[in-house]
């Protein structure tokens, strides 16, 4: 009797009460690989019934705007990234309405960590193509620091990931 009760309690605590995933933050650098990572995140969000927040961080280069033209080019690039990001967001929202977007300017690691914290993310999804992020993650100490800052599990989507066997076979 006690054994049965203990087993039930363990199961409830472990599976039934698992915090799991209610909000996913997915970081995209707008590359093709990031698009695949985003699709994977959408699939997870659907499965979990989770909200999705798309984050794109436009990196603020440490440059001095010596001429108005340089400043203008920077602004154009930022505007272009924002429009591209909006397009990605609209496509995702059609498939997963419980979705929002955050366009940020600054350091990707800091901004992604900030967004994960702000939205109380349960999971951060990032493509392995997100080089700046992963280059820092590869340093064990830095990785721990970043993970501690983010404060939730991080799913790294690899370039070679076969995210959907159905896509390969063409079956629904």
């Amino acid at each position: 009797m006690n054994n049965l009760l203990e087993t039930t309690l363990v199961a409830e605590r472990s599976i039934g009460h698992n915090p799991l995933v209610k909000r996913i933050v997915v970081a995209t650098d707008l590359s093709e690989h990031s698009r695949k990572a985003t699709e994977y995140a959408v699939a997870l969000a659907r499965r979990f019934g989770a909200s999705l927040t798309l984050v794109h961080v436009f990196e603020q280069e440490q440059i001095t705007f010596t001429t108005p033209q340089v400043g203008e080019a920077y602004e154009n690039a930022r505007h272009h990234a924002e429009l591209t990001f909006l397009g990605v967001f609209e496509e995702v929202r059609q498939n997963h309405p419980d979705c929002e977007m955050e366009f940020r300017v600054g350091d990707p690691v800091k901004q992604i960590a900030l967004m994960a914290s702000t939205f109380k993310a349960d999971l951060v999804v990032i493509g392995s193509h997100h080089l700046r992020f992963l280059a820092r993650m590869f340093e064990a100490d830095e990785a721990r620091r970043i993970l501690h800052t983010i404060g939730c599990p991080v799913l790294v989507y690899h370039e070679g990931t076969i995210c959907n066997a159905d896509i390969k076979t063409g079956k629904p």
């Binding site: 498939n95 991080v154 690899h158 070679g160 959907n164």
Partner: protein, 184 residues
């Protein structure tokens, strides 16, 4: 007209594009106290997909100080047997609430062995604790991205013990009711 088109159910292509399939979750454990929480988290995900869970522990002889003499071989063998026994014990604990759980005990360099096992077992997801010795090697650096993607073709979920960002104070309970942080 447009409204009618938009009201149609999503096309087959659209449905499949956002469809994920997870049939096997490979969980790398180092048999530390935090392993249990990592496996519980992974089992929670597997449960959602009806996926099988495989616990993998890699016994790394290189990680043990080398000293000459027969006694060392005994010690290494003892250590290996002890690790295997502890892995079996962990699997038994997990099976109490998630029966679709098995184990893989390997010897060698952890990151390489985890990647090999992921390929052999056709894992759809690898879950690893952030403090696991092999975790950083699975992230892949910029210059190693191609090499690693050939070897590991599934996502890696790095579990750092916190359920929700911004709520770092909340730690998942272990099965004995204690709370432990993986971040030293």
């Amino acid at each position: 007209m447009n409204t009618a088109l938009e009201a149609r159910p999503p096309s087959r292509e659209r449905r499949t594009k956002y469809h994920s399939k997870v049939q096997r979750v490979l969980v790398a454990v180092d048999l530390s106290g935090w392993s249990e929480a990592t496996v519980i988290y992974a089992a929670g995900i597997a449960d959602l997909f009806g996926a099988a869970v495989t616990l993998i522990h890699v016994f790394d002889p290189e990680g043990i100080t080398k000293v000459a003499g027969d006694r060392v071989y005994d010690s290494l063998d003892d250590a290996r047997q002890d690790a295997e026994k502890r892995l079996s014990g962990l699997v038994e604990e997990i099976r109490k609430f998630y029966p679709k759980c098995d184990m893989e005990f390997r010897i060698g360099e952890p990151a390489e062995q985890i990647k090999t096992a992921a390929l052999l077992l056709n894992a759809d997801l690898v879950v690893i604790a952030s403090h696991h010795p092999a975790s950083a090697l699975l992230f892949c650096a910029a210059d190693q991205a191609q090499e690693i993607s050939r070897k590991l073709n599934c996502p890696v979920l790095v579990y750092n013990g916190s359920g929700t960002a911004g709520d770092a104070a909340r730690k998942p309970q272990l099965m004995d009711g204690s709370v432990q942080s993986p971040v030293s």
